[in-house]
């Protein structure tokens, strides 16, 4: 890991993204979604991306806009279908995007395994279901498990609350979600933060992501109000 780069803006933070990259994108719904970084990824024009996210985009903005631009070849997620996932739905039905559906806990554990240097792990989740197709089943200690393989990536795009100048991060409430594990599993982790603080200003006991996992941060002071709009009725996982 190189020393932390503090990028002047989202576009500079995404310098060097290559066609064909695998990109982990944090967030669960809009909480923790690095909207400005996703927009910057779109502006790079990078093609043939593989995106890992819990969902497959909502409405017309953010990940949905990236998909709409035809930049994503494949998406790995747990819950693509939502009330307003029409951009993805249309691409999928037209056969223009590849989909790998992974149970949410297996998805999280695969990302953790990628960051932790493991070759794979045996999980009970999914045994005997459609999502076990093509996977090795193994009986260990009297119970059946599936072999799941790690996910690593070229890039992670994550949103956190605050970083110090060494890249130590804290998050806010359930916006933490996939951020910490995604930072560990990418060759380059780019984090948009609300606030940059001096080194020493974050309690070492409360650091959630140590700076070793963070390559670039960019301050995005106040999110566009529309990007923090939340669904009041809920729309699935």
């Amino acid at each position: 890991m190189s020393r932390l780069t503090i990028a002047p803006g989202p576009d500079e933070a995404l310098a060097g993204v290559q066609d064909g990259a695998t990109v982990l994108i944090g967030g669960f719904g809009t909480a923790g979604q690095p909207m400005e970084l996703i927009d910057a990824l779109r502006r790079t024009g990078a093609q043939h991306l593989t995106v890992v996210n819990n969902n497959a985009g909502n409405g017309d903005r953010g990940l949905a806009a990236l998909l709409a631009g035809g930049q994503v070849r494949k998406i790995i997620c747990s819950f693509p279908r939502q009330s307003d996932s029409y951009v993805f739905d249309e691409l999928y039905r037209a056969g223009r995007i590849e989909l790998e559906v992974v149970p949410q806990g297996n998805l999280a554990e695969r990302i953790r395994a990628g960051g932790a240097g493991l070759g794979g792990f045996y999980t009970p989740t999914g045994v005997g279901t459609l999502l076990a197709e093509g996977k090795e089943v193994r009986r260990l200690g009297g119970r059946d498990y599936l072999l799941e393989l790690p996910i690593t990536a070229d890039l992670a795009l994550v949103k956190a609350l605050r970083s110090d100048r060494m890249g130590n991060l804290v998050y806010r409430r359930t916006a933490r979600n996939f951020g910490p594990i995604m930072c560990t599993a990418a060759a380059t982790a780019v984090v948009q933060i609300s606030e940059l603080v001096d080194t020493g200003a974050i309690d070492p006991e409360a650091v959630v992501t140590p700076g070793i996992y963070v390559d670039r941060v960019v301050v995005v002071p106040d999110a566009d109000p529309a990007s923090t709009e939340v669904t009041r009725m809920g729309q699935g996982q």
Binding site: A31, R81, R112, G128, L130
Partner: protein, 217 residues
């Protein structure tokens, strides 16, 4: 036996009453989240949401709404004293490791042996989307299902074998429905209570052998 089939609020109340005090509970998404309305604070039940929180409070209203504080259904919620936040891998490790006492899920079908189908209709053009359903079904110590006993087409949803794609194998222990509560043990289905229907009538309408639970039905 009550006068008629239960409303979903009545079902939620019934589920809530059966959750042991002090339990750690996940209420999935949609209908089962109604259960939280019937869990008084003094029972010390702690709610988990798989997007990284224990100690989830009621749905947020008005100024309480915080886009960074949502439940698994992406509905804004609140935080109770003693809450804790953690990342997704830790949250699902908690679930998969058997640390949640109870989860309550909706279902398309439950089989007599406890198999659960609640993620996929099996329709060939459906876009598959599983979320945390399989993790919950596999991980929680007790999986309660809350559903109507019959579909809109009148066909029973408590079945000898699921025809929809499975979510988890032999994982459901209790089924709360508008017409009755069913206890599932080792392939046997015991009717604990009925609502607006007799045990005999249930036996005729379900394709599953039923017994009366001790002290029940």
């Amino acid at each position: 036996m009550s006068g008629g089939p239960l409303t979903r609020e009545q079902m939620a109340r019934l589920v809530a009453e059966d959750i042991p005090a002090g339990s750690y509970v996940n209420l999935g998404i949609g209908q089962p989240t109604l259960v939280s309305d019937y869990l008084p604070a003094e029972r010390g039940i702690v709610l988990h949401t798989e997007n990284g929180m224990l100690g989830m409070g009621p749905v947020a209203v008005g100024d309480e709404v915080d886009p960074d504080l949502i439940n698994a259904g992406k509905v804004p919620v609140t935080e109770l004293p003693g809450a804790a936040y953690f990342h997704h891998a830790d949250s699902f490790a908690m679930m998969r490791g058997g640390h949640l006492d109870v989860c309550v899920l909706g279902a398309f079908q439950v089989a007599a042996n406890g198999d659960l189908a609640n993620w996929h209709t099996g329709a060939p053009d459906a876009i598959p989307a599983v979320g945390g359903a399989m993790d919950l079904a596999t991980g929680a110590r007790d999986v309660y299902v809350m559903m109507t006993l019959f579909g809109k087409d009148g066909r029973p949803k408590l079945v000898p074998r699921c025809t929809y794609p499975l979510t988890g194998l032999a994982c459901v222990s209790r089924v709360y429905t508008d017409h009755g509560v069913f206890l599932l043990t080792g392939g046997e289905v015991a009717v604990q209570r009925t609502f607006g229907i007799t045990l005999a009538e249930l036996g005729r309408r379900l394709d599953v052998p039923l017994t009366a639970a001790p002290g029940g039905a």
